[in-house]
Amino acid sequence: MKPAPPQQPIISVRGLVNRFGAETVHDGLDLEVYAGEVLGVVGGSGTGKSVLLRTIIGLNRPAEGTIEVFGTDLLALAESERREIEKRWGVLFQEGALFSSLTVAQNIEVPLKEFYDLPRGLMDEIAALKIGLAGLPGDAAAKFPAQLSGGMRKRAGLARALALDPEILFLDEPTSGLDAIAAAEFDQLIRDLQQSLGLTVFMVTHDIDSLFAVCDRVAVLVDKKIRVGTLDQILRDDHPWIRNYFHGPRGRAASAAQAGAARLALSDPA
């Protein structure tokens, strides 16, 4: 049972325009993300899903538009003020983006060392805690990123993203490159962490199963703008691309699986 998302935007994007050379990727895009929800962002290749994420976290400066996070206009902030905001979100990049010269534990300790003056022992304990929260075995702490499998690298990246106990978690294609079982486990992990740590999750994905499994609302990038709604609303949308995406063979399979799971849950006497 998903609680209705409280109507208080934690991220608000207005009139966003992104151009690369002559190509306009976003043209007057508006988006609001509410505190405590999981928003899934989908769209065809090249519609600028990752660009949108990178623009919100400040890695890409938009041509026009405003971006407010925690009620502050990010584009107007000085460097030091930005850092205070950046402490309050965590980012998981597509390939994990772990620092390859550091072990997993050291990777997690990088932001802790940068922002807080913690005793060595406590820092190790917090690193171990995050490793556990991300569902990695304890011996992963001393391993280097090159020694990890793709799925473990993502979990380690998630552990680092969680290092500072962020309020918002940005995920770029969290399940890409994972097999179906690992992807489902990762979806579940994100759901668990989101609920127990009270996170707001902004998730770029192309995995239709993730949308059904974890997302409270779905944002679809079409025609250089974005359409947002609950999954039911989006499923009823008659935009051709959206229809194709959700009512194509894969979309039908995912929604059938979801409906089956829901029926099972309903018939469960407990």
């Binding site: 390859s100 917090i126 995050k130 556990g132 702490a141 106990d165």
Partner: protein
């Protein structure tokens, strides 16, 4: 967040030690709370109650501190009870209880800080060097065998690739090689003039310049520049192709990577390096002659006639003959290190650096060997 304040108040109620956690138990306040909790030293078997009723905010670091206290005190034999946990914090506590552990985190330490470690490292590096030399020789043999096969079937030689490489390694290097050779000529002429003027032997500046540039510096400078410019490019190109699995794709399509990638590069460099050397010789002499005129007033015809007296064509050839050998060293190492790239992007950078260092090192070693060889031959 600067105003975050967290406290831990200890009181005693009916022999039970009550620890009241209050305020904001966050990462920002964790260091102080950690210290405070570690100071706790209740008598054995005293029951302990941790009262969480006063918590305003808590994050996973704060929850971990409280749960760690519970775990540690329980392990010491004190019965511990958590009370008044706000239901909104309950999922966090559950999650942290599931994820946290007391087992220490291992940090790999560099092991060469001890004498034994240093010796072990020295040994490993030496053995590694031997193994690399061995593999490099193997690669050399492989390339030679491929070249032999190609001489039997010259139609398989990839001429287009070779010409493209000649443009890359030769034509495109003209500016930098020419400029540097010119400047070296200027420097030698100036230094020579300065020293020889004291003996009234200014005219021998030309001899010094000619022998220096033609025999040694022209070819050596060119080889060093090309090792940095083209040797590194060979490693980076082939290495990137390994990362993107292009080399594997080539093999599955029945193409021989040595034939397709190495031979055109090797042949191109074998041809261009001698030509570049001649060009560098010329530019060096040109620089020297301009300097000789400016500093010593040696006019151009005079310079030329002294040049003819000082050196014969043999001096020129002694320099140029080394170029193909240096070219082979640079191309072989550049390509070999490219194939040594593993499937990661950072290894491209590592192998490229290695290729440049090895190539320059071996070029200078070979130059020294040539010097000994020529002095034995008395040329």
């Amino acid at each position: 967040m600067a105003a975050a304040a967290a406290t831990l108040v200890a009181t005693e109620e009916d022999k039970t030690l009550v620890l009241k956690a209050e305020g904001e138990w966050l990462l920002a306040t964790a260091a102080e709370l950690d210290r405070r909790l570690r100071q706790l030293d209740p008598p054995p078997h005293q029951p302990i109650a941790i009262d969480l009723g006063g918590l305003d905010r808590i994050d996973s670091a704060g929850a971990w501190l409280l749960l760690r206290a519970e775990l540690e005190l329980t392990a010491r034999g004190n019965p511990v009870e958590l009370r008044n946990l706000d239901p909104t914090f309950a999922p966090l506590f559950e999650q942290v209880r599931a994820g946290g552990s007391l087992s220490p985190v291992a940090h790999p330490r560099p092991d060469h800080h001890t004498l034994v470690g240093f010796l072990a490292r020295l040994g490993a590096v030496t053995l590694g060097l031997c193994a690399r030399t061995y593999r490099l020789l193997g690669f050399f043999g492989l390339v030679c065998a491929t070249m032999m096969r190609l001489t039997l079937r010259p139609g398989r030689l990839r001429l287009t690739a070779m010409v493209a490489q000649m443009e890359q390694t030769g034509v495109n290097a003209l500016a930098i090689v020419g400029l540097l050779a010119f400047l070296v000529g200027v420097v030698i002429a100036y230094q020579g003039a300065d020293q020889l003027r004291r003996f009234g032997a200014e005219i021998y500046t030309v001899d010094l310049l000619a022998v220096g540039i033609l025999r040694e510096l022209g070819v050596l400078m060119t080889a060093v520049i090309i090792a940095g410019r083209s040797g590194s490019a060979f490693t980076a190109e082939i290495g990137t192709m390994r990362v993107t699995e292009e080399i594997d794709a080539m093999r599955t399509l029945g193409l021989d990577p040595v034939e397709v990638l190495v031979v055109p590069r090797l042949l191109a460099l074998l041809l261009t390096l001698p030509m570049l050397t001649l060009y560098a010789d010329l530019m060096g002499l040109l620089g020297g002659s301009l300097m000789a005129r400016a500093a010593l007033g040696i006019a151009f015809p005079e310079f030329l006639s002294e040049l003819r007296n000082a050196v014969g064509t043999r001096t020129l050839w002694i320099g140029v003959v080394k170029a193909p050998f240096f070219a082979a060293i640079i191309a072989m190492i550049g390509c070999y290190e490219g194939f040594q790239v593993s499937r990661s992007a950072e290894s491209v950078g590592r192998q490229t650096t290695l290729a440049v260092v090895e190539a320059i090192f071996l070029v200078i070693v070979a130059d020294a060997a040539f010097s000994v060889f020529f002095s034995v031959l008395r040329v």
